[in-house]
């Protein structure tokens, strides 16, 4: 068995156990969240003018979708369903499988967060290298300060700032929703243009808030590599600056790839505030709504999905590191 296959098997086994543990914990936490969703629904119907008897009957029918039996029976049903990838049925969307609801919401989270993360990664590492090389100059300082500043601003503040600037003061971009409904969905310029237009501010928020971290991490990594003997040797041998630059970048970027893989794992759960501000219908917004609706099955499913994403990202990061860093491979082989 190769080193990678061995590591993969070990990771998968550990990951599976972690998923089961997390599923168990989240099941019991979610099912013990206080609050009476039936009373809230009843009050809502009464406020809308429904008679008390009719409202009571309406609530009774709706909450027929709630799992029945003791908590232990519900747990065993949940776990056996999980094995079949059946996460139950949503109460707030009666009859709809939780997996379908999660699938719909996930795409709206993954695409903008992925775009924002990759954009910030690319810009951050390029400018990070530059900031390290020019660290004694004004431009290097300015880049480092911009990184610290943006890294320090909370995501939701940045989001609101962008809304104020680009949707209110200079109204050139939409501040809410994923796409204009007036465009026929499909592979046409109008629809794609609208999708992109609506994604600009959320993506910019993700990118700007993450950019600071990348530039600072890359700068620090490059500065460490710059002091290594092989760089000095390359300079003494009179190599071209572009080749030296490649040496530096390749070695300095290794730890950042690990962070990138982990960031991608966190992307599913990291968008709660942004999606709320931009009314973007992703997993974060779904999670907030499911808590408000006390939709236990949906809440549990969302928590589980976020956890699985982090576990998978950890596995991918580790394997990726094994592939790209020969030192890790040779260390394993030497054992």
């Amino acid at each position: 068995m190769t080193i990678i296959a061995r590591r993969l098997a070990g990771h998968l086994a550990r990951g599976l156990v972690m998923i089961l543990v997390v599923a168990t914990i989240s099941f019991f936490i979610v099912n013990n969240i206080p609050g009476d969703p039936m009373a809230a629904r009843y009050e809502k119907l009464i406020e809308q003018g429904m008679s008390p008897e009719a409202a009571a009957q309406g609530v009774k029918v709706l909450y027929g979708f709630l799992p029945t039996g003791t908590l232990w029976e519900q747990y065993t049903d949940y776990m056996s369903g999980l094995v079949r990838l059946d996460l139950g049925v949503s109460v707030s969307r009666p009859g709809t499988p939780v997996l379908d609801v999660l699938g719909e919401a996930t795409k709206w989270t993954v695409l903008p967060v992925l775009a924002g993360t990759l954009l910030s990664f690319l810009v951050g590492i390029v400018l990070g290298v530059y900031a390290a090389i020019k660290r004694t100059g004004k431009l290097g300082d300015a880049l480092a300060i911009s990184g610290s500043l943006l890294h320090g601003i909370p995501q939701y503040v940045l989001a609101m700032l962008l809304v104020v600037i680009f949707a209110t003061l200079i109204p050139i971009l939409p501040a809410d929703g994923p796409v204009d409904i007036l465009f026929e969905p499909g592979f046409n310029a109008g629809y794609i243009g609208s999708l992109v237009e609506h994604a600009v501010l959320p993506v910019a928020t993700y990118a700007l808030s993450a950019y600071g971290g990348w530039i600072l991490a890359m700068k620090s990594s490059v500065v460490t590599v710059l002091g290594d003997d092989f760089i000095l040797a390359a300079e003494l041998r009179g190599m071209k600056r572009s080749i030296i630059f490649r040496y530096i970048a390749r070695n300095a970027i290794l730890p950042l790839f690990t962070i990138l893989a982990l960031s991608l794992g966190l992307l599913l759960g990291g968008a709660v505030f942004i999606e709320k501000i931009f009314n973007y219908p992703g997993l974060g917004l779904l999670l907030i709504n499911s808590i408000n609706d006390r939709d236990y099955a949906l809440m549990g499913g969302a928590f589980l999905l976020i956890t699985v994403a982090v576990i998978v990202a950890n596995i991918v990061a580790d394997l990726f590191y094994t592939v790209i860093d020969p030192r890790v491979r040779s260390g394993e082989e030497a054992r």
Binding site: P34, G35, D36, P37, A39, A40, E43, L45, I46, E47, Q48, G49, M50, S51, P52, E53, A54, A56, Q57, G58, K60, V61, L62, G64, F65, S92, R93, P94, G95, T96, D100, V101, E104, A105, A175, D176, G177, P178, V179, D180, I181, L182, F183, E184, P185, G186, F187, N188, A189, G190, Y191, H198, K276, N279, Y280, P281, L285, I288, N289, N292
Partner: protein
């Protein structure tokens, strides 16, 4: 590598260029009649995957736009049965309220061109039974339940009321029923449904089983997903994404010629802030009531074209006491607090645009009160701010004042602890204001906020709070008004006319008031039983009962009525005009979007 990148770039450009030609199918801004933009203020969070099913809580069915009711019940002060035409062009209510005969719109058609028939209405009534409604209930002996549904001819239908336990709002219950296409929904109900219903109305194990089967059908109804929307309303659902829903004009609608907009766009929202943003940006042509602080309200009004139409909303808010807890079991404490709270000030701070300070506590909205209890309103104690009277009441309750602060009779400290759910900004502002008013008068007070409304209701029902806010006066029907004070929250449960009383702290009885009250000038009354009588009383029979209950509520103060809500409707005159200003049609039935009714009846006109 560079060549590959260049090739990919060129290919991408070519694809986008090719697609940008004829395949862009933007519907434009409304093709003639214009685009009407609104929100479903009752239901936050659009769900693109939800079916066009009016019974599904997330269903992409918008009442009065692509879902029709038999009639659109009005917001009348006292008569619950007044309505505007919906699928029924007209109706006749028997003088003794024993039956309603519906005449359907002669030209009503579904969006697929099929005519709307009495069979559609009959099947919709069957569906309503599975969900529970005032008129169509399987609970044996339920007040105002229908007895028979008879098809008279292809456009006429007669529904009789079970006169064993009649209700004055029977006709309202019938009219407020959504009509569905039987050719789409026919398989949802089993073939033997009406036989099952007959069995369910009986007694014994078989009837119980039939009732359970009908209730179980309710889940099938909720989950039913028609392949496409078939609407008898002025619009039909075209498509939905998680941010917006698009409806287009239904050319088969019976009054299509008078429907102004060509398209309707529903915007998604998850909280009030988003609605405020839409309104301040002038994006919405109409929005139903949404609470807004003064500064936001001013910004909304300043947006070009915006107008706020104010009307009657049969809802009030009261400060409810948990009488299981001391010292709130003592009426003099409750009265003393009422004399310390300046309701004008509270309303000015908490809900200046959305509320009118309550003139006194009657349990009825001040606008409807004169119609129900006449001159009695003027005879009731108004509880105007009066610290001297408050002191007198507190002394009668045995409270003592030490170093300027009121303490309990045993000398231990007293703090009025008020609880509100997070996000209810008007309630929290009101409680903060009351707190400062009480502290100024020597009564220690605090405001506690809890995470959200479901948690608030659970803990309130469990009797965990001393004082909480409570929606009340939910008209127009007298029973609905008073069951908020003398219903389950105060121990009385009314099932099919049989009234039972639960002890304080049990069965949701968080108010914990006494089962009988000695009312000055009336004598001993059981307010829960009197309230239950309202469920079957005619308007004239209800008036003396309501007078007794108003006096009881005013004297005993299970709640202090703080403000009566005002129905603020937000409209924009930029693209459409003709908005009605009539109180009675600003609020129209359960979950109904009023602007849909205004549009389908031809009141709203396009400016384009």
């Amino acid at each position: 590598m560079k060549r590959l990148a260049a090739a990919v770039t060129l290919l991408g450009l070519a694809t986008v260029t090719a697609c940008s030609g004829g395949s862009t199918t933007q519907s434009g801004s409304g093709g003639g009649g214009g685009l009407f933009t609104t929100i479903d203020v009752n239901r936050p969070g659009l769900d693109a995957a939800a079916p066009p099913n009016p019974y599904n809580p997330k269903g992409n069915s918008f009442s009065a736009f692509n879902a029709m009711k038999i009639g659109w019940v009005k917001n009348h002060l006292t008569d619950p049965n007044q309505a505007l035409p919906g699928i029924a062009e007209s109706w006749e209510i028997a003088p003794d309220n024993s039956a309603i005969t519906l005449k359907l719109q002669p030209n009503a058609k579904w969006s697929d061109g099929q005519p709307v028939t009495t069979e559609d209405v009959r099947m919709s009534i069957g569906i309503a039974y599975t969900q529970g409604s005032t008129a169509f209930s399987v609970t044996p002996g339920a007040a105002g339940a229908a007895a028979e549904v008879t098809v008279v001819d292809d456009k006429t239908l007669k529904i009789t009321q079970n006169m064993d336990n009649p209700s004055p709002k029977f006709a309202r219950g019938v009219l407020d029923t959504t009509v569905l296409p039987s050719h789409v929904w026919k398989d949802v109900l089993p073939a033997d449904f009406w036989d099952k219903l007959k069995t369910a109305r009986g007694e014994g194990a078989e009837a119980e089983k039939a009732r359970e089967e009908i209730t179980a059908l309710g889940q099938k109804v909720l989950a039913f997903a028609p392949a496409k929307d078939v609407s008898a309303g002025p619009f039909v659902l075209e498509r939905v994404n998680p941010g917006e829903a698009l409806l287009v004009k239904n050319k088969h609608f019976y009054n299509a010629a008078n429907v102004a907009p060509a398209q309707v766009k529903f915007l998604n929202f998850t909280g009030n802030e988003q609605i405020w943003n839409y309104l301040t940006a002038g994006k919405l042509d109409h929005s139903g009531f949404v609470a807004a602080p003064t500064d936001v309200m001013n910004r909304i009004k300043q947006a070009p074209g915006n107008e706020v139409i104010k009307g009657y909303s049969p809802v009030a808010v009261g400060m409810g006491f948990n009488q299981s807890k001391k010292p709130y079991d003592n009426v003099h404490v409750r009265r003393g607090l009422a004399y310390l709270i300046n309701r004008d000030e509270v309303t000015k701070v908490a809900s200046p645009e959305g509320g009118t300070p309550a003139t006194t506590t009657t349990g009825i909205h001040q606008k409807a009160a004169p119609a129900w209890i006449g001159d009695t309103v003027g005879q009731l104690e108004p509880y105007k701010p009066d610290p001297a009277k408050a002191e007198e009441e507190f002394k009668q309750a045995g409270l003592t004042k030490k170093d300027g602060k009121w303490t309990l009779s045993d000398g231990s400290p007293w703090k009025v602890s008020m609880t509100a759910p997070s996000g209810f900004s008007d309630w929290i502002s009101a409680q903060e204001n009351i707190k400062s008013q009480l502290i100024k008068n020597g009564v220690d007070a605090e405001v506690v906020t809890v995470a959200d409304y479901p948690l608030y209701l659970e803990e309130l029902a469990a009797g965990k709070y001393d004082v909480g806010f409570w929606l009340m006066a939910l008209g127009p029907a007298p029973y609905d008004i008073y069951q908020r004070l003398y219903g389950a929250s105060n121990g009385w449960t009314n099932v099919a006319g049989k009234v039972t009383h639960a002890a304080p702290g049990k069965g949701g009885n968080w108010m914990g008031g006494p089962e009988e009250i000695e009312v000055e000038g009336i004598g001993k009354i059981n307010p829960g039983e009197l309230t239950a009588k309202l469920n079957t009383a005619t308007a004239e029979e209800a008036k003396p009962i309501m007078t007794q209950l108003a006096k009881a509520a005013n004297q005993d103060l299970p709640v202090i009525q703080l403000w009566d809500y005002v129905n603020n409707q937000f409209v924009s005159n930029s693209r459409f005009t003709g908005w009605p200003h009539d109180d009675e049609i600003l609020r129209l039935g359960t979950g109904v979007l009023a602007s849909g009714v205004w549009i389908q009846l031809g009141m709203v006109k396009s400016k384009q």
